[in-house]
Amino acid sequence: MPRLLIVEDDDRIRLSLRLALEDEGYTVKDVPTAEEGLAEHRTNAADLVLVDLMLPGMDGFDCIRALRRLGDVPIVVVSARDDTHDVVAALEAGADDYVVKPVAVKELSARLRALRRRASGSGEGAPKTLTFGEIELRPEAGEVLLGDKQVHLTRTEFRLLCELADQSGRVLSRQQLLNRVWGYDVYGDERLVDVHVGRLRRKVERDPANPLHVVTVRGLGYKLAP
């Protein structure tokens, strides 16, 4: 069973989420502070983390950054705040998805499932290596090389890159990417895509401000250019 870590200071929310998500088949560990969450993750690494943003002591943003430094565990923010500023800051800090309270358990569970999916294009018959200019993508091995240096991507960043690579130069709209990478079947938040593309560019582009490979097609979406 996947191990889920909940970092949430409100006792009642924490308890109710634990009960509901245990019903969904997760082994849940819940803690009220970021510090305890980090300690827990270090000793007993979780497969998924839910983080609230307003926490006593270390706040949610710092908690996400600290978790990112430890590894690429998928992180979902569950917050009552939905200002663009907070959403973007949390995603920039390294969160993979962002849901606003109150979120239905079914919806949250769908988000978590999507983040644990394996990258597409890594199935049978997929080519072992895809090359886009300097970027070398090995879906099966889960590796990305820029030149001859290995680049470390999070699971979500890697899936985003694979989805774009799968299209061999065709454009994917933000909504299509939300559907393929994050599993949204209703209208999703396009900021999610934009921030992740920005993160991806900082890792695989020589000059992220003038990207050569992960390019924006104005009015349409994104594509991966060779």
Partner: protein, 455 residues
């Protein structure tokens, strides 16, 4: 009757007209006076010259009449009168002229004849063959009268030229007056245009819009007063908004607990007894409604912000919304040239979803969704086959917590009463328009026009 029509003209047209009329009045009266004075002085001078010449000629004629049998024609021929003056002599009731009489004698008025016969010299202005002329009569000895007819055609030509020139000057001055009026009104109305533009921006939710300060103290007062008003209004609206946002925000945390706890209960529904299961159902549906209410309230609290426009494929978005709601794709009709428009996709999606919700709740489900593109705007229509909206309720359906009569009759157990208000707010944020019509064949038709904008 004329004043109201004048009022109907714009302020700018009115100012221009007043300037033009003022210039016309001034220039016309100046031109008229100038013409009259010039004409009078020229005429007087001509008259004096004519009289002087007539006296001189009369003296010569008097000398010529000295003999016993004077040849009058010879005397007249000897006068040096040039083209302008024609001499005549009347002696013993008979006219003598240089040439055959061509109506010249007829032009001498009777009063003048009488005056001269009685021994008084006289001058009179007459018309000779449609040309102004001057007749001078000088009495000679023994009842003979000497007359001279001077044509004034040269003078009248001069006066005509003068009148034309003065008329042109008056016309030019009037046009210049209109031009000055147009310029001045533009200058005066410029700040009003800025105020109107700012007010428009504020009406569409941009509370940061301000009227630029002006160097002119008169205009600056307007800018300052207007900006102060905007600040007051936006502060009040911001306070309202923040209150709604705070309330909803505080409701979110307990709602999260309720929602998660309810789902735990709902999962165990099959193992519950009938009464508990019914209670769980009630709880589940009410929690869901409560969630929607809080979400809608929060959304409404910030929906007066300007739309976050980005290039949006409305057709794909609509297809997506219909698909997730398991609506048949044939429901959608698209006309016009499909283009990507600068819209706020999150809001457009909510508009669509709420209209479809509304059709589900009050109209038995949508029967047609249409998108028609025209230029840089898209018109969205959602039709249902329900009872429709009575004309007197059409203005009210977009109010907050306004629910249709039919819904109230059902106890209003569905919906939050905020869906259409939210739709209206989203449309307003796009500077679009919304109306509810009767669908041909029965039912309601919600029509929304969303103009695209710069992302």
């Amino acid at each position: 009757m004329r004043l109201p029509r004048f009022r109907r003209l714009g302020l700018r047209a009115r100012i221009t007209t007043v300037f033009a009329l003022g210039a016309l009045f001034l220039s016309a009266s100046l031109a008229g006076t100038t013409y009259q004075l010039t004409r009078q002085s020229l005429l007087d001078e001509r008259e004096r010259a004519a009289v002087r010449a007539a006296y001189f000629d009369a003296a010569l004629v008097q000398q010529g009449l000295g003999g016993t049998e004077p040849d009058l024609a010879q005397v007249l021929r000897s006068l040096d009168t040039g083209e302008q003056r024609r001499p005549l002599i009347r002696r013993d009731g008979q006219w003598f002229a240089r040439t055959a009489d061509d109506g010249l004698t007829g032009s001498v008025p009777t009063e003048l004849l009488t005056e001269v016969r009685e021994g008084r010299p006289a001058v009179q202005r007459v018309h000779l063959r449609d040309e102004p002329a001057l007749v001078v009569g000088v009495p000679l000895s023994d009842g003979t009268g000497y007359y001279e007819v001077s044509t004034l055609s040269e003078l009248s030509r001069t006066l005509r030229v003068l009148a034309t020139v003065l008329g042109l000057v008056a016309l030019t001055t009037t046009l210049a007056g209109a031009g000055v009026g147009w310029w001045a009104s533009r200058r005066v109305l410029l700040p009003l245009g800025q105020v109107a533009g700012t007010a428009g921006a504020i009406a569409s939710g941009d509370f940061s819009a301000r009227v630029p300060r002006d160097n002119d103290p008169d205009l600056d007062a307007l800018a300052v007063a207007f900006n102060r008003m905007v600040e007051q209004v936006s502060a009040r609206s911001e306070a309202d908004r923040r209150f709604a946002a705070d309330v909803s925000h505080e409701l979110r945390s307990p709602l999260q607990t309720l929602s998660a706890a309810t789902s735990v209960l709902d999962r165990r529904r099959p193992s519950l007894d009938e009464r508990s299961a019914a209670a769980v159902d009630l709880l589940t549906s009410e929690v869901a409604r409560f969630e929607t209410l809080v979400t809608d309230l929060l959304e409404l609290a910030r929906s007066d912000r300007p739309a976050e426009r980005r290039p949006t494929d409305v057709v794909a978005l609509t297809r997506g919304v219909l698909a997730t709601r398991h609506c048949p794709p044939e429901l959608l009709e698209v006309t016009g040239r499909e283009v990507s428009l600068g819209l706020d996709p999150r809001r457009v999606e909510q508009v669509l979803a709420n209209l479809l919700d509304n059709a589900d709740k009050h109209g038995g489900g949508a029967v047609r969704v249409s998108l028609s593109f025209c230029g840089d705007a898209v018109t969205l229509e959602v039709d249902d086959e329900g009872p429709g909206v009575p004309p007197d309720e059409r203005g009210l359906v977009f109010d907050r917590f306004a629910r249709g009569r039919a819904a109230s009759a059902r106890g209003g157990s569905e919906g939050t009463g905020l869906g259409l208000a939210l739709v209206a707010q989203h449309v307003l944020a796009h500077r679009g328009s919304i109306e509810v019509l009767a669908r041909p064949g029965g039912g309601a038709r919600f029509r929304i026009v969303l103009p695209g904008g710069e992302p």
